[in-house]
């Protein structure tokens, strides 16, 4: 079990609230009162930090996985379009 999971008090976000909300708002402004509470929760909760980091890492993996267009594929494209000089 996660020892760092915070106790949910009435009106405060649970770990699940944080995770759903983070998923909705990653990369966006987090200035609303709810987001301030969420950030506060995140700072104290290892569980949510791990989740947040793993989602960010997932995005970074796909950002960094790129493919190069080969010269042959470029030539086939230009020929396909009838733009060869």
């Amino acid at each position: 079990m996660n020892e760092n999971k915070i106790t949910v008090k009435s009106g405060l976000p649970s770990c699940k609230d944080v995770m759903v909300h983070l998923c909705d708002n990653l990369g966006e402004e987090l200035n609303s009162p709810k987001c301030v509470e969420i950030k506060s929760h995140l700072e104290k909760c290892d569980n949510c930090q791990h989740y947040f980091n793993s989602v960010e890492t997932t995005i970074q993996f796909y950002k960094k996985y790129n493919v190069e267009l080969s010269n042959d594929a470029h030539n086939r494209l230009i020929e396909f379009l009838g733009l060869k000089e």
């Binding site: 079990m1 999971k5 699940k16 990653l26 791990h50 793993s54 996985y65 230009i78």
Partner: protein
């Protein structure tokens, strides 16, 4: 020569200007197409169809958006059309947040994304994970998170409402994160 001038020349039938525009955007469109198709032949075919649409319709391009944004819209449509002809997914398979997010015992990923480009085993895992995601979700994830378009721009490109994009995005992120979590053997014990 700047892009606006090239577009004006292309709209007057200048083939050299058209070729320049193709050259300026082919890498971006091919890369995006690959990220959706996860197959080099399909990505090349989709790229060709996208630029054929550009060549045929360049006179209708009014300049309200950047040419690159217009091309993303076209390639997105081609990717979706291709995906629908071979779809093995159901778009409603990610509707339950309780199944997507289990808040107990989240593992600390001791892995960094820096080596993704060189690691073939990791590439295979990334390909297999995203191929399980329905194309409608995959495209939203790629446009918003990977290519960096705003939620509003993404919504416009895929002709969805902003709340619908946010919903798909959050489910796509959670689904992919869970898939990788499993493949990296971080599943909770």
């Amino acid at each position: 020569m700047d892009e606006q001038k090239l577009i004006e020349l292309a709209q007057k039938g200048d083939r050299k200007a058209l070729a320049e525009l193709v050259k300026a955007h082919e890498q971006t469109i091919y890369n995006f197409s690959f990220k959706i198709c996860r197959n080099k032949d399909k990505a090349e075919n989709t790229m060709q169809e996208t630029f054929l649409s550009m060549v045929k319709n360049i006179k209708q391009f009014g300049g309200q958006s950047k040419l690159s944004t217009w091309l993303y819209r076209v390639v997105t449509n081609h990717c979706l059309m291709l995906a629908r002809t071979e779809s093995k997914h159901t778009a409603d398979s990610f509707d339950d947040d309780d199944l997507l997010i289990d808040e107990k015992n989240i593992a600390d990923w001791k892995i960094t994304p820096d080596k993704a480009a060189e690691n073939n085993e990791l590439k295979k895992i990334l390909d297999e994970a995203i191929q399980k995601l329905a194309p409608e979700y995959r495209i939203v994830f790629m446009l918003r998170d990977v290519e960096g378009f705003s939620t509003e721009e993404t919504a416009s490109m895929v002709e969805l409402s902003v709340p619908a994009v946010k919903s798909r995005l959050h489910r796509a992120r959670a689904f992919l994160r869970n898939e990788l979590n499993t493949r990296f053997n971080y599943e909770r014990k």
